[in-house]
């Protein structure tokens, strides 16, 4: 599979469109279906964002009110006082950044070894990486936890970093990409006296920016949204992530202030939405290339 193949959406100009009646009907049906899909996909988001501007008792009203009666922008100020959102955000940003950095660094480094250096046992080792894709994390989370407890790492952010930074996913994605880079390039560099490490740093990495971007984006989004890891490992409130904090806010939401809850959810989604919109080209290519979520 070619790693760099772009997903090009067909650009139909009006002129080359099929104008037969059957094709025209097909287009209309297709467009209606697309709009229906888009509505189904985006309505929950619309409801979430609108609810974040509602009054405390306005979220549930019969019949459903889609827009707030009065726009409660104050929810967005009160949230920072009523909850530890600032701390959760800080922890999540630290965690996502460090994990992304380590994953990209060690992943692309190892991928070079797998793609460009031939040595005995390499392919068996790679199969070992590949095989773990069929093994769900839930099946070995207990021994992993026991081990982390022996290292006294439970209830620390370090545990979350170690847990997520060395996945097989980064290695797999980067290897696919490196294999599309012609061998002549590194061969020429070797003749010029460059060592393997310099080839990785000075030739491979600059060429692999799209793949590195995809890996960084996917890792960041996954770490940001991770709920299970923090649920098992992070007990102290001071090291909670956004997801864990919001879930606890829900659970302890005795006053049932749902609009405030939606405010928190909206704030937690915004950074990821922005990052995704900026880098969605990488994101889509990365997933189509590797077929994996990480």
């Amino acid at each position: 599979m070619s790693a760099t193949r772009m997903i090009v959406l067909p650009h139909g100009t009006r002129a080359d469109r099929d104008t037969r009646p059957a094709a025209r009907v097909g287009r209309v049906v297709g467009s209606i279906l697309l709009v229906a899909f888009a509505l189904a996909l985006l309505t929950p988001f619309f409801w979430m964002v609108m609810s974040s501007f509602k009054g405390p008792n306005e979220v549930f009203s019969v019949p459903v009110r889609w827009l707030p009666e009065v726009w409660h922008v104050d929810n967005y100020f009160a949230l920072w006082i009523d909850t530890d959102m600032a701390i959760w955000l800080r922890n999540t940003i630290i965690l996502s950044t460090v994990v992304t950095f380590l994953q990209v660094l060690t992943g692309s480094f190892a991928a070079y070894g797998f793609a460009k250096v031939r040595f005995p046992g390499r392919d068996v080792l790679f199969l070992l990486y590949l095989g773990t894709i069929a093994v769900p994390w839930q099946s070995y989370m207990i021994p992993q936890y026991v081990m982390m407890a022996q290292f006294k790492l439970t209830n620390t952010l370090v545990a979350m970093i170690v847990l997520q930074a060395f996945g097989a996913f980064g290695v797999f994605l980067m290897k696919q990409f490196f294999e599309t880079i012609p061998e002549e390039l590194s061969e020429a560099a070797r003749l010029d006296g460059l060592g393997e490490y310099s080839i990785w740093a000075r030739i491979m990495l600059p060429l692999a920016v799209p793949a590195l971007g995809a890996l960084a984006l996917i890792t960041f989004v996954n770490t940001w949204n991770d709920y299970l890891g923090p649920l098992l490992y992070l007990r102290d409130k001071s090291i909670w992530t956004v997801q864990l904090g919001l879930k606890n806010f829900v659970a302890n939401n005795v006053t049932a202030d749902y609009s405030m809850l939606f405010t928190g959810l909206t704030i937690s989604v915004i950074p990821i939405a922005i990052i995704f919109l900026l880098g969605q080209r990488f994101f889509v290519e990365g997933i189509a290339t590797s077929g994996l979520k990480g």
């Binding site: 899909f37 480094f109 031939r118």
Partner: protein, 309 residues
């Protein structure tokens, strides 16, 4: 195949074995930083799993060897039986539904309709949204009395709409719907990549032979995307067997609510292991999950190999 230094074919010379050694050292030095972490947090725990499942270890430390006692107890545990059946039930609903929806979406986005770029972005939004937000929003959308979904259903004349997440029969279908909603953008991208490998000439030839749109789909598109279909089926099956986070944010009652209708294998492992601290016992269920995933994947590989032969 590419390599740093291509070894010449011939009798091994001292120079060649020196090169081999050099390559091995360089290769390992690249892989080692990642491999150390990978071995520590994935490989070693996977091996340890089988040992722990044969002990009565709890949160306080080393347990005693108890043989297959955990597995015997597991077979008679009603919660385990329910979670095993529910996991299969979820997979049986979720895998085909997600394939149909995401392939349909990919076909639409592969056509010359206007605005496909926008829809591609929209389709991805659920996938990048956190599971906590997804769980909460859908929980309220599905609320039997006040939720918008039942409101719409009543508007269309459904007098007695389902209780969804609070009902015994509808809780699992509701979770399947949410899960498909969340995942379809992701699998859609995989299908889209697959669709673009099918040569346009094949469609043209089929059209010349008078094949209608359904015949073209059945005889050109489906065979053309077989590798993608295989990949999606394997990934989706594993993802279904390990379903956990969505269940846990949607059923605050845990394994009890409503009447164990949505308890699944991963949740059982979490409940017995992390809530009740029975590490050994929970590990035996984890072995079952592990074997289920591996065996299913191997079977899928064999079927795929037989078909392409």
């Amino acid at each position: 195949m590419t390599s740093a230094v291509t070894g010449r074919v011939g009798t091994p010379s001292p120079r060649r074995s020196k090169l081999r050694l050099r390559n091995t050292v360089i290769g390992w030095s690249f892989i080692l930083p990642n491999f150390l972490g990978f071995a520590l947090i994935t490989l070693i725990p996977v091996v340890q799993l089988f040992f722990i499942s044969l002990t009565d270890q709890n949160i306080f430390g080393k347990g005693d060897f108890v043989g297959i006692a955990n597995f015997q107890k597991l077979m008679g545990d009603p919660l385990f039986q329910r979670s095993f059946v529910n996991t299969l039930y979820f997979a049986v609903l979720h895998v085909p539904l997600t394939i149909v929806v995401s392939l349909g979406l990919a076909l639409l986005l592969n056509s010359k309709l206007r605005g496909v770029a926008f829809f591609r972005t929209a389709a991805f939004f659920p996938y990048i949204t956190s599971i906590v937000a997804v769980g909460l929003v859908w929980n309220l959308l599905f609320s039997p009395e006040y939720g918008p979904i039942n409101e719409v259903l009543r508007f269309f004349g459904v007098a007695d709409p389902p209780g969804w997440l609070l009902s015994q029969d509808w809780a699992m279908p509701a979770i399947v719907i949410i899960s498909t909603w969340r995942d379809m953008g992701y699998y859609m991208i995989l299908f889209l990549a697959g669709l673009q490998t099918v040569s346009p000439e094949l469609y043209e030839a089929a059209r010349m032979d008078g094949a209608n749109v359904f015949q073209r789909f059945w005889n050109v598109t489906l065979p053309g995307i077989r590798p993608t279909m295989f990949l999606v089926t394997v990934l989706l099956t594993i993802a279904s067997f390990k379903i956990f986070d969505l269940i846990i944010v949607l059923s605050p009652g845990g394994t009890a609510a409503p009447n164990m209708a949505t308890v699944v294998l991963s949740q059982f492992i979490y409940q017995r292991g992390f809530i009740e601290s029975k590490f050994g016992y929970a590990s035996s269920a984890a072995v079952v999950l592990f074997v289920l995933c591996i065996v299913t994947t191997v079977i899928q590989f064999l079927i795929n190999k037989k078909r392409s032969a």
